[in-house]
Symmetry: none
Subunit: 413 residues, 2 copies
């Protein structure tokens, strides 16, 4: 069960639009058990479209195509499909009625371009689009199903959900695929791979392991492929269990959960609150925590103390500590966390101070150095860490390291 | 001048990762005058990689490849490139030294997998990667340049900026291309396009205008293509001037400058400082301001007052105002801005309070409502605005709207 995805549009190639359609379609096809073996983006050009259609024909069971079905002169997918499938455009009166009705309801004037949206290839099956004007177009040739959809994401999703996914599910239900993600933190990709050598070598043949690192977090993705979904579920559960016993201290979540989600859930469950006192991360940690819907239940606020005067005047860090240990020190961040916890009246407070770069480093405290503290009802803990040279990457890594320390403190790992 | 982009990784095909690398590389290649004619994503599978390399070979001047250079067993790009280019892996001692130095600095243990990162194809040119451990790999065959890079976005960008883009610029410079971006804010894409109809119709034939909208900011990109660079520069300057007279109040910067950069430069020039008092934006504005290197010169700090108690206890908003007008009101944000300005002792302070969603809205103040205030030596101004329903998009748009108000106040537009 192979599938390919073709996205058509100049805007994708010159990088004006990030191709989120492919990701969404890939995810849906995978969950039906398809192996999405290739994704191709091409220009809105007749010859490029004809070339790619000839290439993929007969090589996959399904080819999903988006883009180029709009009403303007640069949209040529429909005409080119007619050429490839040796048919011609005819007006579909049901589609035309739908479009006319839509324009009437919204009180929009209707022109020749809009009416042309109801023209479809004579030899295709028409998939109605209640989210827009361009219908989906379904062809079959050389044992390959070709479906062409508009590139507007919500229209594509509507046609996929309404017509394509149910039909594919009915017709292709032989092979099953299960994905499971385990989120880890605290060790580099190479070292993690070393620890997991034995685990990987003894994986059942139906299972595949992939490492997906991002800002210090490594997502381990297990994929099971086979005929028997129940069996796949069983071996998946077994292997996940094995993973938990192999690297218990490194796993912080499953699937796509982030530290801010996990921490949010833990705080909500326990009825606890949190605040931040940020120097080098400049509000990034607060911003991550508040990106989660409902975070106002446990996040109360922050003091961003970029300037030392705010560390002393607002957070109450003493001048002595700042002078003796410096702003980037475990002593200072501990006092910052305690100050925030008391000022903002929260159960937990996390503080950071470091050198994100590109300037400000010295031999003792080079760019990439960060001190982190977490203050909580059971006391204050802190650590000093060292990352790289790139400012934005550092701010991200500092923030994730800080959230990791919060998570450790809450779960007492 | 044709280019193709190949991204390797199962995560791209099953839609776990959105392929932002392709968009970035496509945009950079286009700006050098390359026609990016195809983008392909494939599995981490030897045969798939060999197939696609054979397909693209000789068909483009440049092929950029990302992904599969990591240290784990699912990363097979390097070995497969060796097979395709008929060469073998050898240890590059300069790269090994760099990796060892990096691990020493960070106090990380080094293992066999890390050392293997220094293995490179014998016949390739090695592009050093100071942002990570996997170097870039440059091959030439059949008049096609192949460059393989790690898939981690900041490492890929580092290698592109440091090595690939300068080299491509040197070698492919037959036709001149000039890009110029004009950054606008304050009006929708359709309305802006309507205002600029006349401007667009009278553009010299060498010039093309594109609209690139993101979070309320619309970047107008003018591209001039031709043989005579001096002439292109002349007509570009003329048209930019015309644009400034057509939409003077909408332009806030040129090229890729963001509000946080423009504001940072203005504050530095005038020796002024800024702070923030954020409710619904939860630290996002502070995070944007401090993403700029050197921002400690003008950014002093923030109070994030998610909880009303922090608005009253720390920022000094009176209980009467909160009760009479509500947390999401111009009155409240004005007091928040004034409170932050006085507590944090800055020249400017910007405050936000709103409903990012998905919950918390009501008929009078629906999700997407935000109030913004800026307090400055010349007084306090505020506005109430309304955006969409999506939380993350709202937080971004609120923050940009707030920075826009700061910019207007500093420049008194």
């Amino acid at each position: 069960m192979k599938a390919q995805i073709i996205t058509i549009g100049d805007e994708l190639l010159i990088g004006q639009t990030v191709d989120t359609n492919s990701a969404w379609m890939g995810s849906e096809l995978s969950s039906l058990g398809f192996d999405v073996c290739r994704r191709i983006s091409i220009h809105d050009l007749r010859l490029d479209i004809l070339d790619v259609l000839a290439e993929v024909s007969g090589k996959s069971d399904v080819v999903l195509i988006t883009g180029g079905l709009g009403p303007t002169s640069d949209d040529i997918t429909k005409q080119t499909l007619c050429e490839f499938f040796k048919t011609k455009l005819v007006t579909d009166h049901e589609v035309l009625d739908m479009i006319e009705e839509m324009y009437k309801q919204r009180n929009w004037p209707m022109n020749e371009n809009n009416r042309r949206q109801a023209e479809v290839p004579e030899a295709c099956r028409v998939l109605k689009n209640r989210a827009g004007t361009a219908p989906g177009i379904w062809f079959e040739k050389d044992k390959t199903i070709f479906v062409s959809m508009p590139g507007v994401p919500h229209e594509m999703k509507h046609i996929m959900n309404e017509h394509i996914l149910p039909e594919l599910k009915k017709r292709f239900s032989s092979q099953a695929i299960i994905h499971k993600n385990i989120m880890t933190y605290g060790i580099g990709e190479a070292s993690l791979a070393e620890i997991l050598t034995g685990f990987e070598e003894t994986l059942p043949k139906e299972l595949k392991l992939a490492y997906l690192p991002a800002s210090g977090i490594i997502k381990l993705r297990l994929t099971a492929t086979g005929q028997d979904k129940r069996y796949l579920n069983t071996i998946m559960t077994e292997q996940i269990k094995k993973l938990y016993t192999t690297i218990p201290e490194l796993i912080f979540a499953e699937d796509e959960e982030s530290f801010e989600m996990v921490i949010g859930n833990l705080l909500k469950e326990n009825g606890k609150t949190i605040s931040t006192a940020e120097s080098c991360t400049g509000g990034r940690i607060a911003s991550m925590l508040t990106s989660i819907p409902g975070s106002s239940q446990y996040f109360k606020g922050s003091v961003i103390a970029y300037d030392n005067s705010i560390k002393t005047d607002v957070l109450g860090v003493s001048q002595e500590i700042l002078e003796k240990f410096g702003a980037v020190s475990r002593e200072t961040v501990e006092k910052m966390a305690e100050g925030a916890r008391s000022l903002l009246k929260t159960d937990y407070a996390v503080a950071t101070s470091g050198i994100a770069g590109p300037d400000g480093g010295n031999e003792l405290k080079p760019v990439g150095t960060v001190c982190i503290a977490v203050s909580s009802p059971s006391g204050t803990i802190s650590e000093k860490r060292r990352f790289g040279n790139e400012r934005i990457a550092n701010i991200n890594r500092f923030s994730i390291a800080a959230l990791h320390l919060v998570w450790r403190q809450i779960t007492c790992q």
